[in-house]
Symmetry: none
Subunit: 207 residues, 4 copies
DNA sequence: AATGAATGAGAGTTCATTCAT
DNA sequence: TATGAATGAACTCTCATTCAT
C-alpha cells in the first residue's frame, strides 16, 4: 500500500479511464452516424454496454460529450497546424501546409477510430462528420480566413475566396477518407492544385 | 362533396390547395431555420394557423413534407438546368450554365420566401438550408457527376474533381445569399473562374 | 350548426372542462395524500385514467397545477374573508369572523371533495393539506398579521401572538375536519374562546 | 478487526463513532434545510467529506438516518420531560413544565447545531424542522394528550384542547428560535399565559 | 471500513401521430 | 375536411442503493 500510493492506477482508475474512452468512442460513432440532433444519450450508452445513469458520471449532458470530442480534436490538431503554418513563406505554401495538416489529422483519426460502419448506408438528414472533424475543420477554416484577412492571399473577393478554399478542402478530404488506401499525399496535391490553378492547374492525368 | 367535385374547383378545392401550400411554405421556413430534426410538426402548423391534425390530411408524416418540398424544388429546377445544359458546347460552358441556373434558382427562391430571420442568430448544429436548396443542389451535383463521368471534364481525378466543383458551387452560393444585393452574375463569375483557373484564374480585383 | 354557433359547448368542450377538473381533483387528492414533493405527475394522471402526455395539455408542469389549485382556493376564499372582516368592529369580532370564514371554507371544500381516503393512514413526512387549504390558510394568516400590525389586537408580543392565533386556527380546523358531523360552529366557538381567554375562557363543558 | 476489538477503542472505533456522528449532524442540517423529500443522500454525505458508499455502512437507507435522528432526539428528551412532569402538582404546572422542557431542548439543540443557513431563504414546500424537533414535539404532544386524557386538564373538548395547546407550543417555539437572543423564559411565559388565559391572560406589555 | 463508479428504476417532459367530434 | 385533445413511446436526467476494489 505504501509503495503503490505514489501512483496507484488500480483497476478502478483503469476502468474509469476505459469507460470514459468507451463513451467518447461510442459518442463519436453515434454523432457521426446520426448527427447531433438525432443521436440520443441512450444511443451512446447502449453501444458501451454501460447503464443509462453511468453516462452522467462522465458527462453532464449530451452537449458536453459533443464539446469534449470537439475540443479534444481541436486541441490535438492546433499544434500540428501551427507547426505547418510556421514553415510557410507565402500563400501557396500556407495552403499546402494547412491542408496537409488537416488531411493528416483526418487520416490518422480515421484509422484509429476504426470507422467500420458500412459505407453507403447514409441516413437522410445526416452529415457523417464527427465532432472532432467539425472542430478541426473549424481550425483550418479560421486559419484560412485569417490568412486571407491578412492579405496573404491573392486579391480576389476574400469572402468568396475563403468559402471556396474551405469547401474544396472539406469535400476532397471527405472523399479521401472514403477511398482505400487513404492517400493523404494525393488528396493534398489535388486540393492544392485545384485551389491554385483550378481545372487548368490540375495534373492532367490519372483519370 | 359531390357538388364541389365538378370542374369549377369550388371553394373547397381552393382551400385545399391553399392549405397544402401554406403548410409547404411554413415547413420550408421552419426546416430552414431549425433543421429537420429540431423542427417539430407543431412548429410548422403553428405558422399556418391550421390545427395540428390538419397537417396529416395533407402529409402523412414530418418526413413526407420534407420530401415533398425537396422534390418540388427538384421538379421545378430540372427543366431549367436541362435547358441551360443543352446550350453548352463544352465543359466550360456547361459549368457556367449549371452554376448560373443553380444560383438563379437560389436567388429566386430566397426572394420569394422573404427569408426574414435575423442573420447571425444561427443555432449550433443547424445548417440553414431548406429542403429545396438541398434537393436542387443534388441536381447540380448529379449533373456535374454525369458530365465528368461522360468524360466531358478535364482528365483529372473525377471523384475529387466533382467534389471540389460541387463544394465551390455550394459554398459560394450560400455566401451569395448572405449579401445584399444578391448578385447572381458576380457569384457565378467567381465560382466559374475558380473552378476553371483556381486562384490564378480569378479576376485579380475587387478586394 | 347555425344556432349552436352562439354557444356550442359540444362534447369536446365538455370533456375538456371535465378533464381539466378531473386533473385538478386528482391533483388535490394526491398532493393532500402525498405532499408536493412525493406526489408525481404520473400519480395524478393515473387517477384520472388519462394518458401521461395529456396532463401537459392542461398544465405546463407539476408546479403549475399546484399553483392553480392554490390560487383557485385563494380566489374563492378572499371575498368571503373580506366580507366577514368588513363587519367586524373590533379585534374580537374580527377573529371570530376570520376563523368562521376559514372553517366554513374548509368544511365546504371538504364536503365537495369527498375526501374519502381512509383516515389514520397518514404516511410519514406528509402534511395532509391540500394546496387550497394551504393557500386559504395563508389568507387567514395574512389577515391576522395585518390586523395585529395595525394595532387592532391586544398589546402583547405581536409576533408570538400572531403565531399562536394562527396555530390555534389551523390545528383546531384540522381536527374539525376529522370529526363527523363537521361542526363549524363548535370549532369556531372553541378556537375563538381559546384565543380570547385561553383555558379559562373555554366553556367548561362537553368533556 | 481482532486487535481493534479489545477494549481501548482504538482509532478504528473512534472514527467509526465520529463518522456516524458526522453523518447524523450532516443529515440533521440537510433535513432541516431541505426537508425529507428534497434532501438527497448525496447532500448529506457531501457535507461529511465521506464517500457515498460509506453512508450505507452506518445507515441502511435515507429513511433510517431520519428515524435515527428522530429517536435520538426523543431518547434524550424523554427523561427531561419526565423529570419536569414529575414536579408538576397540577395542570398549570404541568403545562409550564412541559413547554419549558421543550423550549430548553429546542434552544440547546439549536445552539449546538449552529444552524447558520441564511434566514428568509425558505424554499416553497419546505418546513425547516429537523427530525429531532419533530420527534421531541411528538413527545410533548403525547404528554399533553395523556394529561388531558387523565382528566388533569380543564374540562373542555379534549381533542381541540390538545390540538390548540400543542399548536401554540410549536409555533411560539419556532418563533423563539428565529429571534436573537433566544429567550426561553419569555417564550415559555408567553405560551403558558396564552394557553391558560388566552389574550386576556397575556401580560399586556412589550408591544 | 472506506471508496466512488455502476446501476436502473423512475422522475418530468416532449412530440409525432391518431381519432372522435 | 378541419379540429385539437388524447395518446404513449421515448427522451434527458436524478438518485437511492449496490458492489468491486
Amino acid at each position: 500500500m505504501s509503495e503503490a500510493a505514489v501512483l496507484p492506477p488500480g483497476k478502478r482508475e483503469l476502468t474509469k479511464v476505459a469507460n470514459r474512452q468507451a463513451i467518447l468512442d461510442a459518442a463519436r460513432e453515434v454523432f457521426g452516424e446520426l448527427g447531433y440532433e438525432t443521436a440520443t444519450v441512450r444511443d451512446i450508452i447502449r453501444r458501451t454496454g454501460l447503464a443509462a445513469g453511468t453516462f452522467y458520471n462522465y458527462f453532464r449532458s449530451k452537449d458536453e460529450v459533443y464539446l469534449a470530442l470537439a475540443s479534444e480534436g481541436a486541441r490535438q490538431f492546433a499544434p500540428l497546424l501551427k507547426a505547418q503554418r510556421a514553415q510557410s513563406a507565402n500563400w501557396e505554401e500556407f495552403v499546402q501546409a494547412a491542408i496537409e495538416a488537416y488531411y493528416l489529422f483526418l487520416a490518422d483519426a480515421h484509422k484509429s477510430w476504426l470507422n467500420q460502419r458500412p459505407p453507403g448506408e447514409t441516413q437522410p438528414h445526416v452529415h457523417g462528420e464527427t465532432p472532432e472533424m467539425a472542430a478541426v475543420f473549424n481550425e483550418v477554416r479560421d486559419a484560412i480566413l485569417e490568412e486571407i484577412a491578412r492579405g496573404g492571399a491573392p486579391a480576389a473577393d476574400p469572402d468568396y475566396l475563403a468559402a471556396a478554399c474551405i469547401a474544396i478542402a472539406r469535400e476532397v478530404g471527405e472523399k479521401m477518407l472514403a477511398r482505400r488506401p487513404i492517400d493523404v499525399k494525393g488528396a493534398t496535391a489535388f486540393a492544392v492544385a485545384m485551389i491554385q490553378g483550378g481545372l487548368k492547374g490540375l495534373p492532367q492525368a490519372e483519370a
